[in-house]
Each structure stands twice: as C-alpha cells, then as structure tokens.
Amino acid sequence: MIPLSWYLIFAAALFSIGLFGVLSRKNAVAILMGVELMLNAVNVNLLAFWRYLAPENMAGQVFAVIVFAVAASEVAVGLALVISVYRRRQSVQADEINLLKY
C-alpha cells in the first residue's frame, strides 16, 4: 500500500511548481494556470487526509467539493479580468499592468 507521506510530498511538489509559476510567469493566463496547479495540490492533500485519517468523516470530501467551486469561480473571474485588461491595454503581461503601482 502507498503510505500517506507519498501523497503529501507529491502535493508539496505540485504546490511548489504552481507557486513558481505564479511568481515568475509574465503572462496573466499562465499565472492563473499556476493557481490551478496549487488548488489541485490542495485537493490531493484533502482527499489523502480523508482516506488515511478519517474515512467516516466526510469533511475532507466536502472541502474538496468547495475547492472545486472556488477553482471554477477563480478562473471565471480571473479570465474575465484578463480579457477586460486586454481590451483596454492590448496586453496581458502582468508586469505591464502597473497603473496602480505609482
């Protein structure tokens, strides 16, 4: 059988890759993809904890359901923002969207 630590380390690696993508990519859509990877890592953790520590308690599964909803909402609004910014500035590069910086 697979020990719990394997899932946790896999999720940590996936989360770190997603984090790297969020912090380093220029393209706004790519940043959203990084966020998706991070949310997936969270879901792997939630379901692994459900299966290994408390299979009778549905909290882990319900949390995973909520994470699905959050991921969908985040993509819907995030991509709408990207499209809105693109229409005004003709760019989706996150480092060029700096109007609020000054």
Binding site: V65, F68, A69, A72, V75, A76, L79, A80, I83
Partner: protein, 118 residues
C-alpha cells in the same frame, strides 16, 4: 472498489492503441512524397492570407463561462440525486434551492444579453 477501476485504467491505456495501430500501417504502406506546394493550407481555392490566429468573437467566451458555472453546479447535484432516498423532504427542497440559485444566474445572463449571438 479499485477492482472496478482496473478495467477503466486498462481501457485508458489500451483504447489509444487501436487508432495508433491504424496510423502506423499507412506509414509503412502509403507513398510518401511531401512537397511544399502539397502541404499548403487549404483555403477555398486561394492562397491563405495573413495569420491563422485571427481574433475570435468574444461570444464564444460568454458561453464557455456560463457553461463552466452550470457544469460545476450540476456535478455537485449528482451525489444529492444518489442520496435522495435517505433524505427528508427538507433535504430535497434544499437541493432544489441550489438549482434555483443556478436559475438566477441563467436569468441574469439572459437579461444582460450574454446569451445573444450577434
């Protein structure tokens, strides 16, 4: 439970082998004489003009957006439907409430003209 998924897992591995085999045979039998004229893009009898990446109408995004929200909510309704026998009437009505919230979104998109094609 995992035994049930064994068949699915093998299906995911083996099902692509059939079309891959069908693609390998022509590689061995068929003639192969590529030339640049032959591999040109087909566009209604004229040479292709400009970039393939033309910008698309934003309506496609609208429908994908509404679809995304509906899809997520419908998937959540499936466990509720399976458990319907063990729920009191109140639990059923709560599920209906979930659907009605979905309907509000549909009505909003409709009134806003998001579902129009123009």
């Amino acid at each position: 439970m995992l035994q049930d998924w064994l068949f699915i897992g093998l299906m995911v591995v083996i099902a692509p082998i059939f079309p891959v085999a069908a693609l390998i045979i022509p590689q061995l039998l068929a003639p192969k004489k590529p030339n640049p004229l032959k591999s040109q893009t087909y566009e209604c009898g004229i040479e292709t003009v400009g970039d393939t990446w033309v910008q698309f109408k934003a309506q496609y995004y609208n429908f994908a957006l509404v679809f995304l929200v509906f899809d997520v909510e419908i998937v959540f309704l499936f466990p509720w439907a399976v458990a319907l026998n063990q729920l009191p009437l109140y639990g059923v009505l709560v599920g209906i409430l979930f659907i009605e919230v979905l309907v509000i979104g549909l009505v909003y998109a409709w009134r806003k003209g998001i579902l129009e094609w123009f």
